[in-house]
């Protein structure tokens, strides 16, 4: 097949995205994750396929012999830019992963073009499905108060773009706990626990496997959230040490993030074949004993 006029060869079963990457062509992705089946939610990875009326999501469409792919046509660029602008106008993307931040800039997305957001956290009923009418001069947004219900998780759904990664990680893809799903319809759809109960009262088992796949910082560990709020979170000053969990004998690899000689976060590499980035509550959060009672 050809990508932007240059021949590319991939194994059968590869996606168009795989083919583009094999050909050295960068494509933005948000909802796509290497350990997950494509959810087809964000549409930011669309490309033009010759002979196809609509733009196609490159993450899920299988590559076929003889395809002519264009990743950089005006149509693709426009679509990409508007998607990023719509997402950026309705949500806060400033804590997103590096790829999203880079593409906002690269695509020239103007997230203020639909007007100023409807004031911070004004949504008076954060229940999923609830509809607030937005003043005509404002951009509609998903703003709602931050949910802090325990010592481990923070859910800041003002940052949620409904990419479904948390839902799929909690559900059929990895954890099979099914504690969260999308509730409500259209713009009022939100990620919700059963009957919107607080997380500690839900089926959640606090594995944090939703946190590790969240691309926008809507889900974070409490330690990271607190440090970000007080302005002390500094990834450039952090070191990451690859090691193995200290609890049971499964041998999950951990990446221990340290800053100023203290552990600030633990996660697992997504390419580690034992975990695929997943952990349990002990592995992800049970490390505080290492520095309990320390004064240094």
């Amino acid at each position: 097949m050809n990508v932007n006029g240059r021949p590319v060869r991939v194994d059968a079963g590869s996606s168009i995205l795989d083919a583009c990457r094999a050909g050295g062509v960068e494509i933005p992705t948000i909802c796509h994750g290497p350990t997950m089946t494509p959810a087809n939610a964000c549409r930011v990875c669309v490309v033009e396929v010759e002979g196809s009326r609509a733009l196609v999501p490159s993450c899920s469409r299988p590559a076929e012999e003889g395809m002519e792919i264009n990743t950089d046509s005006d149509r693709v660029q426009m679509s990409r830019k508007v998607i990023l602008e719509l997402l950026g106008s309705a949500t806060e993307l400033d804590r997103s992963n590096a790829s999203i931040l880079t593409w906002l800039e690269k695509a020239g997305a103007d997230t203020a073009r639909f007007g100023p957001p409807e004031g911070p956290k004004t949504r008076h009923s954060p229940r999923p499905g609830h509809h607030d009418t937005v003043p005509i001069d404002n951009a509609a947004s998903v703003h709602e108060p931050v949910k802090i219900e325990d010592d481990l998780y923070v859910r800041d759904y003002s940052r949620c773009i409904l990419c479904y990664r948390c839902v799929d990680a909690c559900g059929i893809e990895h954890q099979n706990t099914f504690a969260i799903a999308v509730a409500g319809r259209g713009f009022d759809a939100r990620i919700s626990t059963e009957f919107d109960v607080a997380l500690p009262d839900s089926a959640c088992v606090y594995c944090g496997n939703c946190i590790t796949v969240c691309p926008t910082g809507a889900l974070t560990g409490k330690v990271e959230f607190d440090m970000r709020e007080e302005g002390s979170w500094d990834e450039s000053a952090q070191e990451v040490t690859r090691t193995v969990c200290s609890y049971c004998g499964v041998g999950c690899n951990l990446d221990v993030h340290t800053q100023d000689g203290r552990i600030v976060k633990v996660d697992s590499p997504h390419d580690h074949d034992v975990t695929l980035g997943n952990l349990c509550i002990k592995g992800r959060f049970g490390w505080t004993y290492v520095q309990s009672g320390r004064n240094d």
Binding site: L152, Y206, T243, G249, R294
Partner: protein, 536 residues
Amino acid sequence: MFGAGGGTSSYQEIESTDLIVMWGSNAREAHPIFFHHVLKGLHRGAHMYAVDPRRTSSAQWADVWLGIDVGSDIALANAVAREIIDRGLENRDFIENATTGFDEYAASLDSYTVDRAEEITGVPAAAIRDLAIAYGNADTAQICWTLGITEHHNATDNVLALINLALLTGHVGRYGSGLVPVRGQNNVQGGGDMGALPNKLPGFQDVEDEESRANFEAAWGSQIPPRAGKHISQMHEAMDEGEIRALYIIGENPLQSEAESATMRRRLENLDFLVVQDIFPTATAELADVVLPAAGWGESDGTFTSSERRVQRVRRAIDPPGDAEDDIALLSRVARAMGVDWPTPSPEEAWDEMRMLSPLHRGMSYSRLQELGGIQWPCPDDQHPGELFLHGRLWERPIVGPPAPFHAVEWAAPVDTLTIEYPIRLTTGRRLDSYNTGVQSGRYESPRRIHGVLDLSPEDAASHGLQDGQTVRVTSRRGSIEAPVRTDRSLRPGLAFMAVHFPDDTDVNALTVDAWDPKSGTAEFKATAIRIEAIG
């Protein structure tokens, strides 16, 4: 098993096996990421049988739950075996080519009809028959177990009963078929690998084997006692008899983790000299004459070996606090204080010395471990990729190495018998967010934490007139504690459960029995007879 002290299979194999038998393992809570691989297998169409006294969160994923009475596993396994043979589902080719002792084993099963097994185990005969047919007919099958099998006075016989099933059907030594003891602690496999067993040198080499010993003696320039040492329960006996008068404990909290804590306290207090090397001032450390502050996880370098025999690097992420030093440094300094001229080796130097002496680990240099993300033993040389599964040799024609023996084993009831005075069976285990005596896991705030409680079936709670949260006195033949009641529908009438994580509030080991397996030294934590009385 069959001479190698590790599970036969890799986690990836359970994703494509046909039948999973989860026997005395609540992996969903105790080994959650292993259970992710199990779930992949189930989604791909594997069937699962769960054998467990409780209908645990693991058992809830099973096609069939066999709610077995605590301590009756051998009766169940033998009945399954007998049923397999009666139906002609045994693998004759494999038995003839790769095993010994089949006739004697088959004869030993004579009395284990499914009907008798139903009487002993409480599992309906039809379910036993179903398991036998499913296991006998499966192309590939894995039996996974944990402490539900091994924390019994006849632990070794329990394990042998399961191994017999695999030999009977040829469910071992092939991709997807195997015997999987899932390890409970980060490096319990690695401790065995390194010879931290009373009868083994590094690499599971027998200390009573002259040739093995000679290799180590030559490398170390010293004499090794030619007899196996004492396992933990024998050490307890030797302490009772005054034969052991000094103890050096590294990273254990036996005062709270061993059965019969009152007896354990007396043993430790009677010692002339107790050294505890740990990362926290544990309850055991409070009894010590000398406490050596050790660097802990995250503060020191080395390796762990996982349940799939995979050796992986662990690394220091932060400096240890205060004067704490890692175990190698502390041990070397103790040695120097005793008058030998030992330098303090780096973890890599110690590892390199070990792997030169252990053929299982010889090809595992630190650089290869890093490059390959871990290696599964055996790995005899630096070109070897490691092994996904063990005992493929049993399928060679003729087999390579010695055949695998059947071991006829007889069921024996738990030591702590149920009587009118002690009518309820108490079993113990872990919960998802906690770990062992809570030294580590007690130091983070879990929203899911269920503190020390006595779990009762709704039926038993009702018959005693108890509500959730009401405090009861729990009494066994050894001792008595108080605990709030929590009803749990996963329990059958007559069965109670306590987690082991909160010894400061509810010291379950004040109740458990110090009856132990003569071969492994493991105590019978899983089977205590209790009675309960409402108080207050």
